[in-house]
Symmetry: C2
Subunit: 418 residues, 2 copies
């Protein structure tokens, strides 16, 4: 027999457009090419990007299928996920995944027949072109990775580095499917010898009248990264979308976003790093206010990092009582060991529970801690530890580009409970 306690009001049956999360926004004919170029130049010159200061209000047409309400549109080529939009089921769906492009994308027609896309493989015994169709015969692997923009968290640096003021949402956790790079190398007779780097070149259309090396997207990573790398044609169970690098993307698990080359057209095993500006001077950990050069560490492997996603102030007023504090935590290149949560800005900590399936060392994990929140101001924070007992740092060092901010203190979330 049902005793009716707290019978709620009838749910309001207001009409609601059922396609809202997919709704097509017509808006914002952003000058995509101009913005893309502007960003790339700013990146290599470490100059501020005026566009980032005046966020667009709607999604640009090439990603108008994304969930507009869950995204923050900084510019036409820099779009982040809201902190409250990550949910708690680990994977970030394409509709909510961030966008960050260094150059305008190649023509969308390249995904009409994805299997026909061809890339060159060099620095192997038998260099040649391979189509996606040929790659698909060489093997299939599936890996979950955190895809995170090198500048994610830049907005939390005190020193105002140049570039988009990302908070936590230039990141997502996705499943990739493709062929292991090591299979491709083996099929082409192995490495040619002398290689120290794996260098990927993107298929972006380069603007006329500029030195290609100054704008092209070409990144080198240490050769060891080959062991885990994929040439991926699928993300989250669907053919890789053009906006995320389809038909083919180089996925380098554990390495920041820029190293995961979209529309890859050339993969080379090289003795030296690329001399493209994006490698030589861009994405370098140079001291604030200085220009990057090859003496500064390149932005490669990601660090152990975590942040709180909920309860999120942006989803409405918070009420006193029990809440499930939750967030995501990653080990960078190593498995995650534990996550601690604080509700007093880091004065005291309690270990959270890791929730849901473990998708592997390159994925993030959800963590949850139930806490009773009294009315007032609170500061929610989290700090993660990898299996080598490395703790997430309290404060990341400032650098000119605002890269790799993983400091737990600046990522803490102030909330007000009524």
């Amino acid at each position: 027999m049902l005793r009716l306690h707290d019978k709620p009001q009838e749910t309001t049956m207001t009409p609601f457009p059922h396609t809202s999360r997919r709704r097509l926004l017509s808006g914002g004919a952003t000058a995509l090419a101009a913005l893309g170029l502007g960003r790339a130049q700013a990146q290599t010159a470490s100059a501020p990007t005026p566009a980032a200061a005046a966020p667009a209000r709607s999604l640009p047409p090439y990603v108008d299928w994304k969930d507009a309400e869950q995204m923050i549109v900084h510019t036409g080529t820099t779009i982040e996920t809201r902190r409250s939009a990550f949910g708690t089921s680990i994977i970030t769906p394409a509709e909510r995944l961030y966008i960050r492009n260094n150059l305008p994308a190649p023509e969308v027609g390249i995904v009409a027949d994805p299997d026909a896309w061809a890339m060159a493989v060099e620095g192997v015994q038998q260099p040649r072109y391979l189509t996606v169709r040929e790659l698909k015969a060489l093997g299939i692997e599936t890996v979950a990775t955190v895809l995170q923009c090198s500048g994610n968290g830049r907005g939390y640096f005190a020193g105002k580095p140049s570039g988009t003021k990302w908070t936590v949402g230039a990141a997502g956790c996705v499943l990739w499917s493709g062929v292991p790079v090591r299979n491709v190398v083996a099929a082409l007779g192995g490495l040619a010898g002398g290689a120290r780097f794996m260098t990927g070149t993107g298929g972006e259309k380069l603007p006329e009248g500029l030195d290609p090396r100054s704008v092209m997207v070409e990144r080198s990573v240490p050769l060891k990264a080959m062991q885990d790398a994929l040439l991926a044609w699928e993300m989250n169970g669907e053919p890789l979308h053009h906006a995320h690098g389809g038909p083919l993307r180089l996925v380098v698990p554990g390495y920041s976003g820029v190293n995961n080359i979209k529309y890859i057209k050339r993969l080379a095993f090289t003795a030296a790093e690329s001399d493209a500006a994006i490698q030589k001077t861009g994405y370098r950990m140079s001291p604030p206010g200085t220009k990057g050069d090859p003496s500064h560490p390149s932005v490669w492997e990601m660090d152990v990092k975590s942040w709180i996603n909920g309860p999120a102030p942006e989803t409405g007023p918070l009420r006193a009582g029990w809440v499930q504090v939750h967030g995501v935590a990653m080990g960078g290149t190593r498995p995650l060991r534990r996550v601690d949560v604080s509700i007093d800005g880091g004065q005291t900590w309690r270990e959270a529970r890791l929730v849901g399936p473990d998708l592997g060392r390159f994925a993030w994990r959800q963590f949850v801690l139930p806490v009773q929140l009294p009315p007032g101001q609170h500061v929610l924070a989290s700090r993660a530890q990898d299996t080598q007992f490395n703790w997430q740092v309290e404060t990341s060092p400032e650098n000119a580009g605002g890269y790799l901010n993983s400091g737990w203190r600046s990522h803490a979330l102030p909330i007000t409970v009524a």
Copy 2:
């Protein structure tokens, strides 16, 4: 230096609508309510459904955001995923997940404020209504499950049972997030005693003029299923879509689709099974041509099962040479141990490799076997084994409803290689 072998033709840069996979089809004003009712009546009466014989060509408006090209529309309420559309990255995105409704859905307005949705919990020490907002304070768990229609594979039964002729695509693997049912029970003081079943009631709008018990969606499962069950508000990283049971769905891992109650409005721990027709006479494993009754086993736990998804003839002509034969395999309620693949219709078998992260015993896993296919006719088959050494059956027993077909022989995939 690059030697150019097999330099492919330039990729054709034909214009291609970049939103094609999300494109909104205007089509097919299917008589949704009528179809929904028609199906439910057919189900309980074991009568053939004429609608299934005349598939619609376009997605009905309530799921017009799905990827039309990847779906087979049987009727407005029975829509399956194409075999070639599963991809190899484990998760089935919402855009490709099947639809099967027993009744027309409640008004879509119920997802406008999902936290306000309320359900009754009965058969506990302190029965009461709980809103989704209240449930969210009781705990968070994330689990990956195979969601599979009880009738998936019905089209492969030789005896022509009634109902939609599903092939392999009335199934998907998704990540759910919600509160464990056991947490809810604990918060309400524990079970009231005497319970042998967990009974969930859906919030569908019942048609006027019919005995509610004859049409309502109310299913009982053995009490032990409570241990793994969730009340889920999120799927694949997004709030649960109305078309898949949002704002709140009962997820019973390891149990076939119908037991996973959409828009759940009542969860009761009961001494007896529901007397609703869908439980009492529907979804029973009765001999071909007979009407189900409580003496026949209910359609509950799923069996160990697998099938090949690629190479798929529907994606174009297949060429001789090496291919990666791949598919999905599930243990039902137990972890998967191994999968064997045959390319000669089951005369000889080889063990395939399980690929990608293991999302837990209720998820499916991808398997891959590289094989060299000569020109000619081949029959690709797979058979899975769980950790208790139960092999997937060669042939499932025929039954009136065409339920739980997991026979590997009928699921085999004939292909022609040029």
